[in-house]
């Protein structure tokens, strides 16, 4: 950013404060709605100057992984006969990674999903698959919003508040 004489390259303090407040409110709502749990905060704590994009990197990995797993599950459920063990293995993996990033709603859906795999309920599995798919899409959208807000704060010269 160009520096002009007499001007700092930081946005006015109230703008930064405003952005920070919006950020905190937004993140709080995600916790409140159960989209995210404390594990997400744990991830943010692992970020520092040497690894400034850690949370974004992990989230990105998650979405690549979840897309792949969801496609696998869909394919497995389309086959005849359905290999429920395989579906279960994929759900188990998704449950693990969603748990690791603090995606609580996705994780809980996976738990339900697994019980349908166990009882080999085809319809139950289809419903769960759809729900997991939707939930991952919602999560992606919300996290993109969140990360964008972080960028705005940093761009305005502020620091991203850490929830505790």
């Amino acid at each position: 950013m160009p520096r002009f004489h007499g001007q700092s390259n930081h946005a006015p303090v109230d703008i930064v404060n405003q952005l920070q407040k919006q950020y905190v409110d937004y993140l709080s709502s995600l916790f409140h709605e159960g989209v995210l749990d404390d594990q997400f905060t744990q991830l943010q704590k692992l970020q520092d100057e040497s690894n400034p994009d850690f949370t974004v990197e992990v989230a990105t990995l998650f979405f690549v992984d979840s897309d792949k797993l969801i496609n696998n599950m869909a394919a497995a459920l389309e086959r005849s006969p359905v290999d429920f063990k395989q579906v279960d293995a994929d759900v188990h993996q998704l449950k693990g990674s969603s748990s690791s990033i603090g995606a609580m709603r996705v994780k809980n859906l996976c738990i339900t999903f697994r019980s349908f795999c166990e009882t080999q309920s085809y319809e139950g599995c289809l419903i769960c698959l759809q729900q997991v798919k939707n939930e991952c899409a919602v999560l992606k959208d919300k996290l993109q919003n969140l990360f964008r807000m972080e960028q705005q704060i940093v761009g305005a010269g502020g620091s991203v508040p850490l929830m505790d």
């Binding site: 040497s50 990197e57 992990v58 992984d65």
Partner: protein, 282 residues
């Protein structure tokens, strides 16, 4: 003492009597000199991996088939100032550990060796492994490690996303130091240090005895190789994991020279040795 932060490759060298200068220019010069010395000495008989417990970092081998969890555990460990190697399977973990087993093989073969404890391989101070993995589970890996005379002293920690009491008991009974529920947190990683300190202490005592037998001039030089290892290992960690991931384990038919001490079934130790020599002696 700075044991090295995540991503950083500059270590404050606490002891290098040859160059007393402590400026950053001096540090750079020392790094160059260290590299030169090491390259020169690699032609000679390998020195034991000598360092006091205070000097070297703890090196943790993390095993998990999930990429996200590997990234997470790696970050957790690096933030706690550990050196980290990650692999995605139990068999690759054994391959990696196998670069240390060779030393025992040579002494058990009764071949003349330069020193009974010359460690060309990488030292691992703790193994942390996921329980649920395809193929070899974390439990299987734990068993193999405890069955190996050269590896059994390495503390093993199991991670699992599932809280199954019988599973936990089984692992602890088999010799695991801790059982950690996922997702793993910083507080969990903090619990690991005592296990590594305990092993380091034992090793430190052994090495101190060897030190007394050697002349002082060798001492200074010898203290360098592990630093260099750590530098290069930290930098080449990603390469290393990729290398490991590219190598497929051969099945048991291959290895009919397996001794009771060996833990890797199906691995040709010579192949392992040549594969990891480059890594170990940068």
């Amino acid at each position: 003492m700075d044991v090295g932060s995540a991503g950083s490759s500059s270590h404050d060298d606490p002891v290098l009597p040859l160059l007393p200068c402590r400026s950053s220019r001096g540090r750079r010069r020392r790094t160059l000199v260290r590299k030169f010395l090491l390259s020169d000495l690699s032609h000679f008989s390998p020195f034991p991996q000598m360092s006091s417990a205070a000097e070297s970092q703890f090196h943790v081998l993390a095993v998990d088939d999930s990429l996200i969890d590997r990234k997470l555990i790696e970050r957790l460990l690096k933030i706690s100032s550990y050196q980290v190697t990650t692999v995605d399977s139990g068999s690759k973990a054994l391959e990696f550990l196998g670069s240390r087993v060779n030393d025992d093989r040579s002494s058990s073969d009764s071949l003349p060796s330069v020193s009974p404890s010359d460690h060309q391989g990488v030292e691992v101070n703790l193994i942390i492994t996921d329980y649920c993995m395809p193929g070899m589970t974390g439990y299987d890996l734990l068993k193999k490690i405890k069955e190996s005379s050269s590896l059994r002293d390495i503390p093993v920690v199991i991670m699992s996303s599932e809280n199954v009491p019988s599973r936990i008991t089984r692992c602890l009974e088999e010799g695991a130091e801790e059982f950690i529920l996922k997702p793993v947190r910083l507080a969990d990683v903090n619990k690991l240090r005592p296990h590594m300190m305990r092993t380091k202490k034992l090793k430190g005592q052994e090495q101190e005895q060897e030190l007394q037998e050697e002349s002082v001039t060798h001492c200074e030089v010898r203290s360098q190789p592990p630093r260099q290892h750590e530098l290069e290992i930290e930098q080449s960690q990603q390469d290393q994991s990729q290398q490991i991931q590219q190598h497929q384990q051969q099945k048991s038919g291959n290895n009919n020279k397996r001794k009771a001490l060996d833990v890797e079934e199906g691995l040709s130790p010579d192949r392992t040795r040549s594969r990891y020599n480059g890594v170990a002696t940068f």
